[in-house]
């Protein structure tokens, strides 16, 4: 259950719209059910009052929308950012991908967002969801007794392993500021590293073979903001819409992971949006873990203007040979 209420955010958005600070509001719009929230640009107070929501299903990271939407909108856009979203926000600013002056950012405290797939696996036929202190009270279309699902059992992976409750960017903060969390997010990577090369290959081959090349991971990724991605540029020579060989199947995701290495903030959108539930975040997290180990702890998006270790040089940098040998022959 979120500590900040919908009404608090709504009142603030309406106030900022009416005093002219902003012209429009990038927020979450209610859906057909209680969980299918859609990112939406609200233009008026009436529209906000009717459709704006803030609940445990506001998982979408809005930062990437700023790249496209601030170009096309007159005046300022109000955007709500959860702590993890603010890292993407800063990273995009570091890369000069949108104009900071066109954005009014409200940092919103977040208690973690729900993974709808997990919730649906727990309860079939959801007809309504009510957030209570005990958890999500879910009623069904089969007229069963309502089920109470503990939030911690259905959180998104990225929220289970939340890396920060602290906002690293905002114009205004709503709710209490949190702390950076010493999360267990690298445990799964460590487990993969502990596998033999063959086991690891089998793991990824199984996962990546599920890919349907819908590009949702890329299109949702705040680090993927190329105007014309090589993978859909017919002139690039590597445009692919389907794997011709199993080699290609693996390469799409690995190339993408390389491309966002050092820029990925570990926002987790790639895994959230994957219709095939491929744990794509593990590829990116492996890069982050390696960067941390080789060059010292680094969190992309922590500050605007940071130089990522992979594009920076210091005298303390590891030699390539040391990188290769740092975990023995299995590295």
């Amino acid at each position: 259950m979120q500590k900040i209420t919908r009404e608090q955010l709504l009142d603030r958005a309406v106030a900022l719209l009416s005093d002219g600070t902003v012209n429009s509001v990038l927020g979450w719009q209610k859906g057909e059910f209680d969980y299918d929230v859609t990112p939406h640009i609200f233009k008026s107070a009436d529209e906000l009052k009717e459709g704006f929501v803030w609940n445990d299903f506001c998982y979408a990271n809005f930062s990437k929308y700023l790249v496209l939407k601030t170009d096309r909108i007159e005046g300022k856009l109000l955007v709500f950012l959860k702590p993890c979203d603010t890292y993407s926000f800063n990273q995009l600013l570091t890369e000069h991908r949108f104009d900071r002056e066109k954005v009014y950012a409200i940092g919103v405290g977040c208690e973690g967002m729900v993974d709808v797939n997990k919730l649906k696996a727990a309860v079939d036929g959801i007809s309504s969801i009510e957030a209570t202190e005990e958890g999500l009270k879910v009623t069904t279309i089969y007229d069963d007794e309502p089920t109470v699902v503990a939030i911690e059992n259905v959180l998104l992976e990225r929220c289970v392993n939340c890396k920060s409750k602290k906002h690293v960017a905002y114009d205004e903060l709503m709710g209490e500021e949190g702390e950076i969390i010493d999360s267990a997010r690298f445990d799964e990577v460590a487990a993969l590293e502990a596998m033999t090369a063959d086991e690891r290959f089998a793991f990824w081959q199984n996962e990546l073979s599920k890919c349907i090349r819908c590009n949702a991971c890329r299109d949702a990724c705040p680090a993927c903001t190329c105007e014309n991605c090589v993978f859909n540029n017919p002139n690039s020579g590597v445009e692919t819409k389907a794997p011709v060989t199993s080699f290609e199947e693996q390469m799409f995701h690995i190339i993408r992971a390389y491309h966002v290495a050092g820029r990925c903030t570990d926002c987790g959108e790639c895994s959230r949006v994957c219709p095939q539930n491929i744990p794509l975040h593990l590829l990116n997290r492996k890069f982050i873990k390696d960067i941390n180990e080789c060059y010292g702890d680094y969190q992309a998006g922590e500050e605007v203007g940071m130089r990522a270790p992979l594009v920076d040089y210091t005298l303390e940098d590891l030699e390539p040979g040391e990188v290769l040998n740092r975990r023995g022959e299995d590295a």
Partner: protein
């Protein structure tokens, strides 16, 4: 109508698998279900439906069409087509069975797509009636009765029994292989089940979704509807909706140089992609709004116009469950069409 005890189900599968390659939904480690090839030990999933639709069986994500050998100025074309072998898809829901009819009207009209036709002719569909629809289901909007699925054989699963009814010659033949495992049955249990399911169907959140306002002849009115801007404004332009959709059938044809000849292959394509209509000298759909509009206009207006009023949506709900931003055909229909 025939029936067999659910306790015998693995014997039934084994018997069918002797005569055909058998595919059925099985649970995956991420709590989703997927059609997989039956083998000893396979467990039939209880899930309502698979994440990927069974269109893959007839229209796979990628398939090789032909091969070329290029030597100097000369080209040699090799026809690599193979006639499909007989196979059974077991446990297809009514909505997905309907999707095959929609695909047929694309691939089996003149000139017939021989790749699709071969698989379609050799595929035997065993459909499964629904008992526990999901909140995302809206098959009734498109006139589909989930308790009366079509297909070569229809089956109804109760707590203890499986009821079978052959609808076609192919289906009769399939049933003959499991004759000794099944017995004659009356329709009482099935009728009761249908009754119970119909009650749930009426209570579904999308039960009132209607196609009124869509269909043939609505092109100009709906194309110019102002709501497309708003509906499409946060669309990411990914292809998830099109690829999980059982009726989306757009494809691309591409060449792949293996270094030892060229393979021309076909793969799924999506009207949501920015380069879908891009030509050497321009693109007639430059914005995501135009691409987004195309997808829904095709399903709700263009396809019915060309196909006797049949809509190109079966209400399976996959796009509702999988769109990264939860924008989908139900929201589009409500916004620009309306509700009963």
């Amino acid at each position: 109508m025939r029936k067999c005890s659910l306790e015998k189900i693995n014997l039934v599968f084994a018997e069918i698998a002797k005569a055909y390659t058998l595919y059925l939904p099985t649970d995956q480690n991420d709590s989703s279900a997927k059609f997989t090839k039956w083998e000893e030990g396979s467990v039939w999933s209880n899930a309502l439906n698979t994440v990927r639709s069974p269109k893959d069986f007839f229209f796979p994500q990628a398939e090789d069409l032909m091969e070329f050998k290029v030597e100097g100025k000369n080209i040699d074309i090799t026809d690599i087509r193979q006639e499909s072998e007989d196979f059974v898809i077991f446990g297809v829901r009514a909505c997905d069975v309907k999707s095959f009819e929609i695909l047929d009207r694309v691939f089996l009209v003149d000139p017939v797509d021989s790749f699709y036709a071969s698989r379609r002719e050799h595929g035997i569909i065993v459909s499964l009636a629904c008992t526990k629809p999901s909140e995302t289901c809206f098959c009734t909007t498109f006139g589909i009765d989930c308790t009366e699925p079509a297909g070569d054989v229809s089956i109804w699963k109760t707590e203890t029994e499986l009821y079978w009814q052959a609808n076609t010659e192919k289906g009769e033949k399939l049933l003959s292989y499991v004759d000794s495992l099944t017995e004659d049955a009356n329709t009482k249990a099935v009728d009761e089940q249908k009754e119970k399911t119909s009650v749930v169907m009426k209570k579904l959140p999308l039960a009132n979704l209607t196609t009124d306002g869509f269909g043939a002849g609505k092109t100009m009115e709906l194309f110019n509807n102002e709501a497309w801007d708003e509906l499409s404004q946060t669309c990411l332009g990914c292809g998830t909706c099109t690829f999980v959709c059982p009726t989306c059938q757009c494809y691309d044809i591409k060449d792949f140089d293996t270094g030892n000849g060229v393979i021309r292959y076909r793969c799924w394509d999506s009207c949501m992609y920015s380069e879908f209509t891009k030509m050497a000298h321009g693109n007639n759909r430059l914005t995501q709004k135009e691409r987004f509009r195309q997808r829904f206009m095709h399903k709700l207006v263009y396809y019915p116009e060309n196909n006797d009023g049949l809509y190109s949506c079966v209400g399976c709900g996959r796009c509702l469950a999988k769109c990264p931003i939860s924008m989908n055909i139900a929201k589009v229909m409500k916004k620009i069409g309306g509700e009963k």
